[in-house]
């Protein structure tokens, strides 16, 4: 176990090294930070002086070594835009992203397991077909569009009146297809302070309303995938010999479904799911942009727009680490769920 963790730590370091090298190599294509830092009418001499001051004229290797030496002391440089150490900037934006991902994950788990299991048990029911149909649509709509439609429906509101509004039945039908809006369209309001840089939306109803729309749009990418995954796995398990044997033994269907079958269904779901939740962090870029959610994704896009190279490099490295960490956690959980798996890789 310890050996496994140490191995993973080295993985993380290797990932950070490779990412930093790549990020540094492409920085020339990210634009000129000096252009973003000065007004348009500033003379070339001023720009040259600033470029020199930032060390942008040094050769690649010198720049990289300077960065690497500082990075080993946990100094990843100063953000050009925020005037702060990049780690501090990211630390401030991290909680917002993690809360959003957490809320989406919660939504995904709470919805995908019952729906997936139901549509595997009753594959021919009209409700199952409906879920499958919707999930196909859901998987093919880009998150950007989902978000904008959600904002229009539930933040701005929409009023349709195809039915005669002066009759009671028409008014009722119109009311059904119209929405009032009222949910916040952007940002996270006034989250409550927990400690350090962590402000939370989870402590009040008002705070939660800010989470609803972004969490749904973020979940909309993964939810169909999970429903289909759980359904497919469950269907397969239900065909297996031991389930047939259990039925022959006369065990109640309920026990077969939820104890014997579900447990084995969840094994591959955890592996795939864990990794996918990791990529959710990356998907937040789009969701956060549309909802102006002040997390890492929005910060990253802003950093790209303003050629804030130190911040871009640090963000990429940290996201790399997040991937390694989620993979490690998934492996640990897998070991707990399936005792035949040994983390050190030795045969059991």
């Amino acid at each position: 176990m310890i050996a496994f963790l140490i191995k993973r730590l080295f993985h993380a370091l290797l990932v950070m090294f490779v990412i930093s090298l790549i990020a540094f190599a492409i920085q020339d294509n990210l634009g000129d930070p000096v252009q973003q830092m000065v007004g348009q009418s500033v003379p070339e001499s001023e720009r040259a002086a600033l470029r020199e001051e930032l060390g942008l004229n040094d050769p690649f290797l010198v720049q990289y070594l300077r960065f690497a030496v500082n990075a080993t002391q946990f100094d990843f440089g100063y953000s050009y835009v925020f005037h702060e150490p990049t780690t501090q900037v990211i630390l401030r934006h991290l909680p917002a992203t993690l809360e959003l991902v957490f809320a989406s994950t919660l939504l995904i788990i709470l919805l995908s397991v019952p729906i997936g299991v139901y549509s595997a048990i009753k594959p021919r029911a009209w409700l199952s077909r409906f879920f499958m149909g919707v999930s196909i649509v859901g998987i093919s709509i880009p998150v950007f569009l989902t978000a904008i439609v959600l904002i229009q429906l539930f933040a701005i509101g929409i009023s349709w009146s195809p039915f005669p509004a002066d009759t009671s039945w028409g008014g009722w039908l119109n009311g059904l297809i119209s929405t009032e809006g009222g949910l916040p369209a952007y940002g996270r309001g006034n989250p409550e302070h927990v400690f350090g840089t962590w402000y939370t939306n989870f402590t009040s109803l008002k705070g939660l309303t800010y989470l609803i729309l972004p969490a749904i749009s973020l979940a909309s990418i993964m939810l169909p995938l999970f429903i289909r995954l759980i359904r497919a796995e469950m269907l397969e398990v239900l065909q297996s010999e031991y389930v047939k044997f259990a039925r022959a033994k006369g065990i109640s269907m309920r026990r077969i479904y939820f104890v014997h079958a579900l447990k084995n269904t969840m094994l591959p779901v955890i592996t795939v799911g864990g990794v996918q939740i990791g990529t959710l962090v990356a998907y937040t870029i789009l969701t956060e942009t549309v909802f102006q959610w002040p997390g890492m994704g929005l910060m990253f896009l802003d950093a790209i727009n303003r050629s804030d190279i130190p911040l871009i490099v640090t963000y990429l490295m940290i996201v790399g680490v997040i991937f390694v960490v989620t993979n490690t956690v998934v492996d640990l959980i897998y070991g707990l769920v399936n005792p035949t798996v040994k983390l050190t890789g030795k045969p059991a």
Binding site: G31, M37, E46, L153, F154, I177, Y186, F291, M299, D302
Partner: protein
């Protein structure tokens, strides 16, 4: 479809019950959303629209622009030209800074000295030789040469609290240092005389302001007590935030959403013809044919500015035939767009380019309204005179590097004159390029007409307004005749607000809303 919306609305109703009604606010709060928030609280760190908007909230200038390009006294109450190079300014008495310090002449002298140290502002303030403090409320600004634009420049002088910014921080750094990369005292601490104090700031998330209780301008009708400024970079979200009632004031309003905002009964839209000229340079150094004035003229005849303004920009632009917008001293009313395809073909034939030639073109794709589409439209129009265009569009972060390298034969640029004066356009866009003096820094056409430069030099020393305007208009005429560049249009400006915020009176073409004077109906 029906089933889905039915489900959606049931879902929405369920969620609505969870949403709490907004608490009624005791005083007037303006929630505004811009596309970006100020990068720093140090108003001398960067010369940008965002910083100037902040300056007008937290500070006051000596004088400020009215809607029709007149000067309105703010911290300067009166001024007189003592001799050709000296301007004596009387300062307002009884003005306090947010820190409680009194505003005096030494703050003005201190601020100008600091501006001359700022990388972004020093070029504008180079003209000033010295500032003499006559008494507590009188200063004399002495220029190196007679400068007709001194008052224009004075709109950039937002006196800072010299006492507040003097001395050293705990870590031994001077409080008045201007730092672009890194943290400085002035970038996080602020004391001005303006209508609003900064009470909180989370960069990239929001800035909070509170009305300054001791604000000198007690005659201002403004009744806004708090302002929360949120940056919302995504156009669709910014508009949604207004339409859903989450914010009261947004800018800019994207052209694609103008009709939507206008149609909304709870929102109002204000648009104005802007002063930012969008144009294309034709690089004579890269393309031999551009050295021939007839070819350049043919290009201006081939491009349909009115078509671009009315169709592509949906009327959200004023077609241009020169640099200076209406209201500027150099605006020449005789010059109008000259779209005429036959004439263009004739000129090309005359110059011996009947069969046309190939050129490259570059444009940004996220800097100006519809910039990439404009470039595409121009490329299509040029095809009609047999000019084949290889177009490349880039994000602004990468574009300006290419622009500085003059990487394409035709390059698109938008320019707003910092001084609100025609001479600024000529200085940066059409003067003969000179790396030493910095003249023609953005003249990507390498166009050079020494006669017009000489005229510009004279205009820059001419204190007589009418004579000067005449000279500037002559320059516009000269540039038009030479077809020095392809003018396209002046981009319009648009703001939108909730119905109860009376934004119209406080807006201006410089895009500095005077929020201190904003009235919110209760």
């Amino acid at each position: 479809m029906f089933k889905k919306t039915l489900l959606a609305s049931a879902f929405g109703a369920a969620m609505l019950t969870a949403a709490l009604p907004q608490a009624a606010l005791a005083d007037n709060t303006l929630r505004m959303a811009y596309d970006a928030d100020p990068v720093s609280l140090d108003i001398h760190e960067q010369l940008s629209g965002g910083i100037l908007q902040l300056s007008h909230m937290v500070f006051d200038p000596l004088v400020r622009w009215t809607k029709d390009y007149q000067f309105e006294p703010r911290l300067a109450t009166e001024w007189e030209q003592v001799d050709d190079t000296t301007l004596r300014i009387k300062l307002r008495e009884g003005v306090k800074f947010h820190s409680g310090n009194d505003f005096t002449a030494k703050d003005v002298a201190w601020t100008i000295e600091r501006l001359q140290r700022s990388g972004d502002f020093k070029a504008i303030f180079e003209t000033i030789d010295s500032v003499n403090v006559v008494d507590d409320h009188t200063v004399e600004i002495v220029t190196k040469q007679p400068d007709p634009l001194l008052l224009n420049i004075a709109t950039y002088i937002f006196p800072m609290d010299s006492e507040f910014y003097s001395g050293e921080t705990d870590s031994g750094k001077a409080k008045d240092e201007i730092v672009k990369n890194g943290n400085s005292y002035a970038s996080t601490h602020v004391s001005g005389t303006g209508p609003f104090k900064v009470t909180g700031r989370q960069q990239g998330v929001k800035v909070e302001f509170e009305r300054f209780a001791d604000y000198w301008d007690t005659e201002s009708p403004g009744n806004v007590d708090h302002i929360v400024l949120t940056p919302i970079n995504e156009n669709a979200t910014r508009v949604s935030a207004l339409l859903s009632g989450d914010v009261d004031f947004i800018a800019p309003v994207p052209p694609n959403d103008l009709e939507r905002v206008e149609a909304d009964p709870d929102a109002k839209l204000v648009t104005m013809s802007g002063t930012r000229i969008i144009l294309l340079h034709m690089n004579q150094e890269r393309v031999e044919a551009f050295k021939d004035a007839r070819v350049r003229q043919a290009f201006t005849y081939a491009i349909n500015q009115e078509g671009i303004a009315s169709r592509l920009m949906k009327g959200f632009a004023t077609p241009a035939a020169q640099l200076s917008p209406e209201g500027y001293a150099g605006h020449n009313p005789d010059l109008t767009p000259r779209y005429d395809l036959e004439k263009a073909k004739e000129l090309m034939a005359e110059a011996g380019y009947e069969d046309g030639f190939s050129i490259t073109m570059m444009a940004p794709n996220n800097r100006y309204v519809n910039d990439a589409k404009i470039a595409q439209a121009v490329a299509a129009m040029l095809a009609k005179i047999n000019v084949r265009v290889d177009l490349k569009t880039l994000p602004k972060a990468q574009y300006w590097g290419e622009y500085d390298n003059r990487a394409a034969d035709m390059m698109l640029i938008g320019w707003h004159a910092d001084t609100e004066d025609s001479a600024n356009f000529f200085q940066y866009l059409t003067e003969c390029p000179n790396a030493e003096t910095g003249a023609g820094q953005y003249n990507a056409g390498n166009y050079c007409n020494p006669e017009l430069d000489k005229l510009l030099e004279q205009a820059n020393l001419e204190l007589d307004k009418d004579k000067r305007a005449d000279m500037l208009q002559q320059i516009e005429q000269g540039l038009y005749d030479d077809a020095a560049f392809v003018p396209l249009h002046w981009q319009d400006l648009a703001w939108a607000s909730a119905n109860n915020a009376d934004i119209e009176p406080i807006l201006n073409v410089m895009n500095f809303p005077y929020l201190g004077d904003l009235v919110i109906e209760e």
